[in-house]
Symmetry: C2
Amino acid sequence: MQYEELFDYLSDAERRILAVLKSSNVNTYFNPEDVLDSVFSYIGRPAKRLRPSVLLMAAGALGGSEREHLALPAAAGVELFHTWTLVHDDLIDHDTLRRGGPTVHEAMRSVAKSRDGLSDHLAAEYGRNIAVLTGDTQHGWSIASFVDCALQTEIDPTLILKLIKHLQSYVLGNLVFGEVLDVRYGMRDLTELKEVDEAKIVDMLWLKTGVLYEFAGMAGALIGKNTPDFGDKEVQAITHFASNCGTAFQLQDDILGILGDEASLGKPVGSDIREGKKTVIVYESLKWANDSQRKTILSTLGNRSASFQEIETVTHLFRELNGVRRTKELAVHYINEALPYLNTIPDSKYKSLLALWAHYMLDRQF
Amino acid sequence: MQYEELFDYLSDAERRILAVLKSSNVNTYFNPEDVLDSVFSYIGRPAKRLRPSVLLMAAGALGGSEREHLALPAAAGVELFHTWTLVHDDLIDHDTLRRGGPTVHEAMRSVAKSRDGLSDHLAAEYGRNIAVLTGDTQHGWSIASFVDCALQTEIDPTLILKLIKHLQSYVLGNLVFGEVLDVRYGMRDLTELKEVDEAKIVDMLWLKTGVLYEFAGMAGALIGKNTPDFGDKEVQAITHFASNCGTAFQLQDDILGILGDEASLGKPVGSDIREGKKTVIVYESLKWANDSQRKTILSTLGNRSASFQEIETVTHLFRELNGVRRTKELAVHYINEALPYLNTIPDSKYKSLLALWAHYMLDRQF
């Protein structure tokens, strides 16, 4: 695939979204400095901005370049919504790196220790508290940015109100459901969880990731047509398209979490293994493992102090035992489900970009 | 003061708000069970509902009983907004009791221990994680409920959009600012904080509490007039009225935190002292204390294992050393600032209720 056109669009979208965020009148309310710094920390680091981009492309595909432009505050809102969930998720997962820099709770722990001279215990607590409040602040900003899409443009206020309600109930409810399932699966040995199977893991992926991609596509489609009609055929087509792509995105993410390197992942190699992340890779590999392989995998998975050698061994087993291949197979399946939905909408440069974007879900290496 | 009329109104408002919350279509999205239980736990306990009530009374005062009725989803939204901030605040403050029952993180810690057999450490972590996600979920529901105020009624969509933006930027930013100041003041000995004085403490009270009262009054006033004009004179009057009452509310709350009993407070006697809460009471008492009294106060304040006897001694000193009296004086001052704003609006039963409500801020014993 030739991705130049997509890459140009994505980097331009990143620039435009950052401009919206930096010029927002909301950021006068971020106080004190620790909150201000934390609110902008993930946002300011290089990222793919796949969610806001699909929103923009969907708006362009159904409404042309003028509507694509009007959708910018909503695109910024989706990026902010994703960001606050990352901040709370990193806190819950004890992650220390995100997009190549420290996570919010980790950065604020360091600050409290070096600047304020707090004890290790109190500094860690301060870091956690600021992370909770930073996510809360970004959550608010996200919604405020959606409001701007109506107040600053000709976009129908009722459409924006309906979108906000959908985001704050259906999308948020499903995201939280996925997050709690993830926490609960992580608390136990996967082999003990009789109720877990491949379909359940994929459902969880959709809850944790697919639902926000689905929303981004839907929001862009509705803004593109400037209609509050969620049942519109073209809107539905793009909604299903984005939903399937979101699941494929997360499957590919799990593969990269095993095969990627630190520079491109922005987090240490093996962190998914050390965290004991329950993925299709793990499930499938355990299914085909013999007793000794099974033992090796289970003794390393979720072991936060696993050695580089142990990580290498398990990574090798995940390739050998069909885990990586099966995950890729599923990712391809979801993209194949997604693409035909594009036949429903008229040809345009945005439609071509959406198709490229879908293929990129499978080909991306970071 | 004869409060019968106000009490009747408040208990009726509580019933009406709970009915809105229980019939909301949003609560189909609360999953799994631990999240569902946690989302409803504070809401279901008896409470004064002062914030949603001032919203309803303001709507009635400027728009009559029909608009007061239409404002119900917004009143429920304010109650939910307050609730999510309580859940995150209790987590940050390590509080274990709220409204006479366990806090969310504490309840879920117990569940994880008894039902899932987790270790103390993992159970506490599970409790904290569910508390973060429960607050996030209620935050979303709050905004969804404001949206309902426009979608289910004749209330102007643009007014509701502007209210949502104001809540999610100005109000939330100030609340978070107040919370972080509270965390930071709590980290240090008050005597060491050269920059803290009475005015700064009152500012923090306004940030943590006043700003949401202000919003509730303003939201009710705007809905009452069904106008998106934040600069409207009557709207401004009710906004200032509610803002001043909010500060008085918190000052009285700090007094009750020292003088109240467990049954009416819904939390243990002395918990404000054991937590080392930095209030005007503490600041003023330290100002007038001799060396020995100062030593007694500072050794008990923030000592989580302070004895009943020590709490009694410090409570006595807070009365003796002008702390309680000064705080009451300030509370009276803010109510006296608030009441004249009511002269700007036409007479009605709702206006009388608002005046009673303001006086009740000072007289309430729980």
